[in-house]
């Protein structure tokens, strides 16, 4: 039986143990280089699980995807243009609030997301309890509590990855609600976005970036070939939006 190969992107804030997880999953089967044309380290590794082969890209550790530093552009462009089969967002359990920002930003770009709440051991020591079930229900994607350095939760993570690539998991990512003023603008822009760049990219996200005046994205779009129209958007922005 031929193995399928899937791509996984690993995103997260600096200091969240992202690299530890990367090392745990890929062991010594990794190599590093540069992202083309950028002085940003590109690390990728491989692992197999349940007859599937996974190529894992360790994206640069970033606080956000919008600050337009070289690191963040690399991470953003990979998620939006390379369309990894799964994006794993690693969160630091001891600083969940700030870490969630990145998760929410990623969830605006793609729905194939698994959230790993890392450093659960550390959080427990500090008396921080996280209801990961509730978190999963709120975010609308699987949330796995792990402790990468103690190799805890890795099995569950691998099983979830497997189920997700086999299409056994339906995600329904949360939609961040903006001020009525901005929501109005988004609404106006979405049809125009679809008209200009088609269905290949999450229209709500693109509209937001346009409102944000994100010039670097404009440049990135100019460099990127558009996938043919028959590809259907993987973005689920018109699903029932959760609001909190």
């Amino acid at each position: 039986m031929a193995m399928n190969e899937y791509t996984i992107a690993l995103a997260g804030n600096p200091n969240t143990g992202k690299s530890t997880l990367f090392n745990v999953l890929t062991g010594l089967r990794q190599h590093t280089g540069n992202w083309p044309g950028k002085t940003v380290v590109h690390a990728e590794g491989f692992f197999t699980y349940n007859n599937n082969r996974y190529r894992m890209i360790d994206l640069p550790g970033t606080y956000s995807l919008y600050s337009n530093s070289a690191d963040e552009e690399v991470a953003r462009d990979f998620i939006i243009f390379e369309k990894p089969d799964i994006t794993i967002v690693v969160l630091d359990a001891t600083a969940l609030e700030r870490n969630l920002n990145l998760a929410l930003q990623v969830l605006e770009m793609t729905s194939n997301v698994i959230v790993c709440v890392n450093l659960m051991d550390e959080a427990k020591k500090k008396g921080i309890r996280i209801d990961t079930k509730k978190l999963a229900a709120t975010l609308g994607v699987p949330v796995i509590p792990i402790s990468a350095r103690n190799k805890e939760g890795i099995d569950t993570l691998l099983k979830t990855i497997d189920s997700m690539v086999l299409g056994k998991i339906k995600t329904n990512p949360i939609t961040v609600r903006y001020s009525p003023e901005i929501e109005q603008c988004i609404e106006k822009l979405i049809p125009r976005v679809k008209e200009v760049i088609g269905d290949a990219y999450p229209a709500r996200w693109v509209a937001l970036r346009l409102l944000d005046g994100d010039m670097s994205l404009l440049r990135a779009f100019q460099q990127q070939p558009l996938p043919s129209v028959k590809e259907v958007s993987i973005y689920a922005c018109h699903g029932p939006a959760k609001s909190i």
């Binding site: 921080i128 309890r129 209801d131 200009v196």
Partner: protein
């Protein structure tokens, strides 16, 4: 079937969006995301032990306090160097005698197969001894230094160093994160040049690249430690000897930091003019590192890697030095000829021709400077087995060394041009021949100026 986004249509769309956009959209967008995160956290996170969370802050009140911040940094540096110096001695001599024992058998083997003298000289006296020296001198300090350093790094101490030192770097017109790249330089300058990528501003990154060499790397530790223990701590014994040795090495490191700041300051006022860019620094919580995992990773990633590189460079260098030391022009070897030629200039720097030549031949890797020097000093034209430090010192003294020679060699080693690998990396990172040349010429001029100054000063006062 690919179509590119029609550029002008996208730009049109962009303008359209801009016309719609309220003034503070950016803040509004981020604020909305933050509010969402906050709301989610309120629902899912509970805190049961508030005090525990602030442990890091309590530690920071000590590690970054006005009173203790700098003394603790100094003590940490001294302790790391002390442990490296104290711990490396015994394994080093054990390795040396092991390699000597193997060499006995190699010699027997070459005799048994009636190998010609030149082949024996080239392979055993040149290649084998050169490599064995580098391994036995370098492996133990590296095997101690890198893991300790990785433990400090994983514990989360390094960002505190950057926090404490930031003001100095800002004053020098450099980036606060330069101290992190310098910390990396203690291991390997070539790797540190790559690590300057964490500095986004090109001007400040260039400062960090050009000055990284003033942090002694792993290839130079042995030189500093050895000369310090032979000449600076000569009159002490036992624990005091180690202490004095470590203190002198610490002083060298501090001097390197002073030079770094001074050079950064001068450059930022001249060739690399500009004001320090804004930046933010996260101080992550202290975390007890996984001791064995850290040691294993540090050994695999760093020690083995650097050792491999050292061997790859040392092996051919051993061969070349043997050849230069055994081919005669008239009745002197090429090595001696070159050394004599360099001697007048070297003497002005308080060195001698052999030392300068060792630095020149040692361009590929700093690790091999001392071995080449010894090879040059010994008329046999090959590295002798040096049985113990006493005989090593005797070799130096026989060649006219004083504490001033040792001091100047340490200074030259600390300040001179980066090794070949580092220069290659500087070229790769800057893509500029001009800046790579500056990275070579600037430290070299400083090394020459400083050693000239100390040599002349000592002569003037008649201390030596």
């Amino acid at each position: 079937m690919h179509a590119t986004v029609p550029q002008n249509r996208f730009e049109e769309l962009m303008n359209e969006a801009r016309a719609l956009t309220p003034a503070d959209t950016r803040e509004q967008i981020v604020a909305a995301i933050f509010r969402t995160s906050q709301a989610i956290c309120n629902e899912t996170v509970t805190y049961t032990n508030q005090a525990k969370q602030y442990e890091t802050e309590k530690l920071d009140r000590i590690f970054t306090s006005k009173l203790w911040g700098f003394p603790i940094m100094l003590v940490m540096l001294a302790v790391v160097i002390y442990i490296t110096v104290a711990g490396a001695n015994i394994p080093s001599s054990m390795l040396a005698s092991f390699f000597g024992w193997v060499e006995g058998y190699l010699t027997l083997f070459f005799q048994a197969i009636h190998a010609p003298d030149w082949l024996y000289g080239l392979l055993v006296l040149g290649l084998y001894r050169g490599t064995a020296w580098v391994v036995s001198v370098m492996l133990p300090p590296m095997a101690i230094f890198f893991p300790i350093f990785a433990l400090l790094e994983n514990y989360g101490y390094l960002p505190r160093v950057a926090f404490n030192m930031d003001r100095l770097f800002k004053k020098a017109g450099a980036h606060g994160k330069q101290s992190l790249t310098m910390a990396m330089g203690f291991g390997c300058n070539a790797a540190a040049v790559m690590s300057t990528r964490i500095i986004e501003s090109p001007r400040e990154r260039m400062l960090a690249i050009l000055t990284n060499n003033f942090v002694p790397c792993n290839g130079r530790w042995p030189t500093l430690i050895l000369l310090s223990s032979l000449f600076m701590a000569a009159s002490y014994t036992g624990g005091w000897k180690t202490f004095v040795t470590a203190s002198v090495v610490v002083a060298m490191v501090l001097f390197g930091i002073v030079v770094t700041l001074t050079v950064s300051w001068v450059l930022s006022k001249t060739a690399l003019r500009g004001i320090p860019t804004h930046y933010t620094l996260e101080l992550p919580p202290y975390r007890r590192p996984k001791i064995w995992d850290t040691i294993l990773r540090a050994t695999l990633d760093k020690s083995i890697y650097v050792l491999k590189r050292a061997i790859v460079v040392a092996a051919p260098a051993g061969v070349i030095t043997w050849v230069l030391g055994n081919i005669h022009i008239g009745d002197t070897t090429i090595l001696a000829y070159l050394a004599n030629w360099l001697d007048p200039f070297a003497k002005a720097l308080g060195l001698d021709g052999y030392i300068l030549m060792a630095f020149i031949l040692g361009l590929p890797a700093n690790e091999i400077v001392l071995p080449i020097l010894l090879m040059g000093y010994l008329s046999t034209g090959s590295l002798t087995e040096v049985d113990g430090l006493r005989s090593l010192k005797q070799i130096f003294v026989d060649h006219g060394w004083t504490w001033l020679t040792a001091l100047n060699m340490m200074l030259f080693s600390l300040l001179h041009y980066p090794c070949g690998t580092t220069l290659v990396n500087i070229y790769k990172e800057t893509k500029s021949k001009k800046w790579t040349f500056v990275a070579f010429a600037l430290p070299t001029s400083i090394a020459i100026a400083v050693t000239f100054f100390t040599a002349q000063l000592a002569k003037w006062f008649g201390i030596v």
